[in-house]
Amino acid sequence: MDITEIERDSMEFDVVIVGAGPAGLAAACRLMQLAKEHHQELTVCLVEKGSEVGAHILSGAVIESRAIEELFPNWQELGAPLNVPVQRDELYLLRNETAAVKIPNAFIPATMHNEGNYIVSLGNVCRWLAEQAEGLGVEVFPGFPASQLLLNEDGSVAGIITGDMGIGIDGEPKDSFTPGMELRAKYTIFAEGCRGHLGKQLYSQFQLDADADAQHYGIGIKELWDIDPSKHQEGLVIHGSGWPLGGGTSGGFFLYHSENNQAVVGLIIDLNYSNPYVSPFDEFQRMKHHPLIADYLQGGKRVAYGARAITKGGFNALPKMHFPGGLLVGCNAGTLNFAKIKGTHTAMKSGMLAAEEIFAALQAGDTGGKDLSGYDARFQNSWVYTELQASRNFGPALHKFGSLIGGAFNFIDQNIFRGKLPVTLRDDHPDYAQLRPASEFAPIQYPKPDGKLSFDKLSSVFLSNTNHDEDQPSHLRLKDPTIPIGKNLPLYAEPAQRYCPAGVYEVLGEGAEARFQINAQNCVHCKTCDIKDPAQNITWVTPEGGGGPNYPNM
């Protein structure tokens, strides 16, 4: 049976939104608010691939409440889970495995100050936003991935098709086979987050990034810990960079003291690193042994683990965000402000602006499928644009000059000129093209995990509650199955084994016996493979609905 030829049921909505993250949920809420204000009937459907809203949300997170305040001025009354105001900011440069230098407050770039911000679980914020959305009348469907674009004959986006359920590992439908549905909409908002798989198709379909610099990414790995109550300082925010990263690999760590004697610790590594032996997972594990961090974690217990790529190219890499029949919002477009390492408020705002643009069009009698170029003006007149433009040099400066001089540049740019320095630094090299041959490096010997502060990959994935039905085709597709062993292995020692934070990719056997194994069941949907594979040979597609991690409180 050819699955592309099946008859599909179809449902129609005014607006379909893909992804229940901050951007998609904010767009959904804003649409319904506008409909209520104008006493207009509006049908909004939001699909989410995670088993529930929040299941796939992973973020630091310290957030600015600006967008939430705009969307729900009575957010506190409504019980938004912004419970921990930031009390204190600390910024460190780790000199080596034992030494750290505290950066005096006066030298911290203004964007890195967090007074007035909140330490949150973004997953829980999304759970709360979904309740608000449902209360406003949005149809929220977790467990239903948007797996394909639905196009009109004129090439405009007509909606999406949800994933088929019940297809066996052999590609054949099982007894339980249930075909996905067409969800048709006048306008579709794509809010899939970093490296959304439909977003990726939209970029090429509509050449959305034709005038933008190459996008840049990082991989964030995060753990949630129960820590010793005597060491817990609710509201303490620690950031830093330096050790163990070096040799052209950059990034930064975070440690936030949240509620209930819990702390979150994480490391973001820029995916433009060149040494194929780098393992972000192992860098993170050994980083936790630095006394600055270990002192807090010692005697505690790790309770959750997860990883997710982040879009960090910022202003210069922003694509065109509108195309016939739809809009691209949030991290799916790249609205994260890397100078602040914050994307929630900007993502939400971009979603709210999309809602306003679409609602205005529908109210004027638009029947859908148009290219809503008016979104540009709304975006450019908003604080998101101002903020992103002011931070445009932050990432490129670090990429170009390294964290020391780049950091100094950022201090001058952000604190003295408030981002108005008449210089724009560019960084137009895609991350995947930055890998250098393995022959130029010696393999990195990472220390063995001690089982107390550091752990192996599989026991980490275990704590992400990741699950995929075993009997389904792999959702990690190789365009050319010979590349991992034929090219990537000799040239780059097949870096997938190391950049994947979930142990999905393995090279088994040696020499002529070597075989590339994909343990798709372990996948935490971070999308790093789709981004970093030097041959751009791995395509991440949506697995059966509900598959993937089940993050609680992340």
């Binding site: 192996d456 599989l458 026991s459 275990f462 699950n467 075993e470 009997d471 088994l508 194994q517 343990n519 069941q521």
Partner: protein
């Protein structure tokens, strides 16, 4: 304190699970009596009377009890119950079928899979598939429970000389009709109920090599299991998979051959009574949970073991 242990049997043989339940009763303390409900089951009563620690065996031997149906067996047990403080049965499908029905007839709650006696009214039992252990206290006048077999050693089957007493009361199962039974005659026990499981991992290398695993399993009358890596590699079908996403087993002995011991696998077998690991890598995590570890080439060690057993 007085305990009544409901014997598990097939009218001919007393099942070993009863011996574990008797040990559990001995931890509670007080008299231990055994109830045998069946038809033509005198041999079972004799066997129960010989178990160390049993003071009395009560036998309800009647055609009405031939299939030990819950409907009437529960009525009988409930009628006898007021003479006891604790009613115990092995936590097998038979015991789990019967005991809640008995409890409801007595208007009391029931404890499933009791795994440790803290005191006469406080017990431990696994919840969340063994991922947490609950300590619970019962205020019921009669404590009705099923006993996790692997948590208690078997009481010695000999050495006792209990009196045997016949029970005349007969209850009939008017609404339940026994149609038939099919006890699998498979050469190999089922994975989840086997006493011994021999599991192979990626280290076994190929589907063909798995025959040495089957040979050892045959020798031990064991079931065969596998790690996810072995299943993913196509060595064996996925219904053999032991682990987080596969089957959870808790046999008396689990032999892990060529299995590294990823946490997903451990989640499926960590409750086994005795864990044996055979692996050539001395650093394999499986050794951290194994009671007996043998660092050796499995292709030599497994056939050697098979031949010497």
């Amino acid at each position: 304190m007085s305990n009544l242990v409901i014997a598990e049997h097939d009218n001919q043989n007393l099942k070993a699970s009863t011996l574990n339940a008797i040990t559990a009763a001995s931890k509670i303390g007080g008299d231990i009596e055994v109830l045998v409900v069946g038809a033509n089951c005198q041999a079972v009563a004799q066997a129960a009377a010989a178990v160390t620690g049993v003071s009395k065996v009560r036998v309800a031997d009647n055609a009405a009890y031939e299939h030990q149906l819950a409907e009437n067996t529960a009525q009988l047990v409930a009628a006898l119950a007021p003479a006891y403080t604790h009613l115990l049965a092995p936590a097998t499908p038979a015991g789990k079928d019967l005991m809640p029905r008995v409890a409801a007839l007595l208007d009391v709650n029931q404890l499933t899979d009791m795994m440790a006696v803290v005191s006469a009214d406080t017990f431990k039992r696994p919840i969340y598939a063994g991922n947490a252990i609950a300590t619970v206290q019962s205020s019921d006048k009669i404590k009705v429970m099923s006993v996790r077999i692997t948590a208690f050693d078997a009481a010695p089957a000999t050495g006792g000389s209990a009196t045997i007493e016949a029970i005349d009361s007969v209850f009939t199962a008017d609404k339940t009709q026994f149609i038939g039974e099919e006890i699998a005659k498979s050469d190999r026990p089922e994975l989840t109920s086997a006493k011994i499981v021999v599991s192979g991992g990626r280290g076994v290398g190929s589907a063909d090599n798995f025959k040495i695993i089957y040979a050892l399993a045959d020798q031990l009358n064991a079931a065969v299991g596998a790690s996810r890596a072995a299943v993913d590699a196509g060595f064996v079908p996925n219904d053999l998979q032991v682990g987080q996403t596969g089957k959870v087993v808790a046999p008396e002995m689990y032999i892990a051959v060529g299995i590294s011991g990823a946490i997903q696998h451990l989640a499926g077998m960590k409750d086994s009574k005795v864990i044996v690991a055979i692996n050539k890598d001395p650093e394999a995590p499986i050794f951290q949970v194994a009671d007996y570890g043998l660092v050796a080439d499995l292709f030599a060690a497994v056939p050697e073991m098979t031949s010497k057993l």
